[in-house]
Symmetry: C2
């Protein structure tokens, strides 16, 4: 393949990131939320867009996603995974292929990172957080991209331990169930859930308990030596409830 | 975002396709195989590469994958899915991002399509089929790409009906189990397999039977109104045998 064999002229490559967190305001049920950046220039000036930017010729795709995410939102996810390359001919003026990443970030780390940026004098402008289920007008095909990311998250919850991305290293079974319920948008039976989690043997009980207004709940942590995929506690649940 | 905001200069966009079939030679166990194209020019002249080519500025990504696959191999898959965008800085001279697709094609359709091309006078040159487990020297990072596609296939077999992509519209449970065994590289217990398939309710028994040297085996077809993902007959198997 030489340059003259094909036409790449006029094709530009961008990266964007859908970074999701699970937010809890007061006692309400938690919700999936993401940061968007308000566009200050045409096209789509005033609309909201995913954090992102152009790929630099000397940087890898994931590195570009992390860099542009940090530049626009101040956030650094612990987990970043490629979602999809969007390349419809008419998705933007000219021809732009967007390689989109998705990331999960715990709410407490979001707060911590933004506080660190503020104390370092970094100003994050034109960024707001929105509920994934209540989005403003999005630029380009970004509404479709967010929709696809939310689908991937739900889908992945069926066969991997993706929900743990919203939780601190130690959590109760109720915390884990709530994360899955938030992702899937439906209630799960606590006894069934516990049985399925037990069957996967991916959680390690600690000797610590959370105490409070309820009876003490044991804290668990992830068995990090077990592969993430194919073993989610909801895999057989998804089949059974179909 | 305007052109001056970022540098896309020198970044070229290619598409490639990993198209897999399940081949059976005589009575041997079937194997996963794929077509590769021998490179006739530098870089990597003489090495084998995935079918592909440059993205045209006026064509969608999947359309480009289908076009370049047809141009190089004469094949037209019934199913084409984006695999991943590979973009390491040093993967090719210059900077080339390859959006890679993967496809499954039944062996009988491979033979049929190639026969049609031949009778239409189309010459397919420099293409050979290789076992996925016994590949020649591949150009660029294509060995890693094929490895990733094989992993995705195995992984996907755990939670979707991907194995059906290797089978004709009507098949026996033994056919389906053999396809899963070929993908996963291990034997599955026939009774367990049947129970799991039954539980997913994704197969519809027909009134037809295959007869031959064994006792007649009922033919099944896919329940095409059921979603592909999250309901694979092996989802709970993968969990149990872990």
């Amino acid at each position: 393949m030489t340059r003259s064999e094909g036409s790449e002229d006029g094709i530009r490559l961008a990266v964007s990131t859908v970074i999701l967190t699970m937010r809890r305001d007061g006692s309400a049920a938690p919700r999936i939320a993401l940061p968007l950046v308000r566009r200050t220039r045409a096209p789509h000036a005033g609309d909201w867009a995913l954090p992102g930017g152009w790929l630099d010729v000397r940087e890898g795709l994931a590195a570009a996603a992390a860099r542009t995410l940090a530049e626009t939102t101040g956030l650094a996810p612990s987990y970043l995974e490629q979602l999809y390359a969007f390349g419809a001919v008419d998705r933007a003026p000219g021809r732009v292929i967007s390689v989109v990443y998705w990331a999960l970030l715990r709410e407490d780390l979001v707060d911590q990172q933004l506080a660190e940026r503020r104390s370092a004098g970094v100003e994050i402008e034109n960024v707001e957080w929105f509920d994934a289920s209540d989005l403003p007008t999005l630029a380009f095909d970004h509404a479709r991209i967010v929709e696809y990311a939310a689908w991937r998250l739900r889908n992945k919850a069926g066969y991997s331990r993706v929900a743990q991305g919203f939780l601190p290293p130690e959590f109760t079974l109720a915390d884990l169930r709530e994360a899955y319920e938030t992702i899937l948008g439906r209630k799960l039976d606590p006894a069934n859930f516990r049985r399925q989690v037990d069957a996967t043997r991916t959680l390690i009980p600690t000797n610590a308990f959370r105490t409070g207004s309820h009876r003490p709940a044991r804290l668990y942590r992830d068995a990090t030596d077990v592969e993430l995929a194919d073993r989610g506690p909801l895999a057989s649940d998804e089949t059974r409830t179909s």
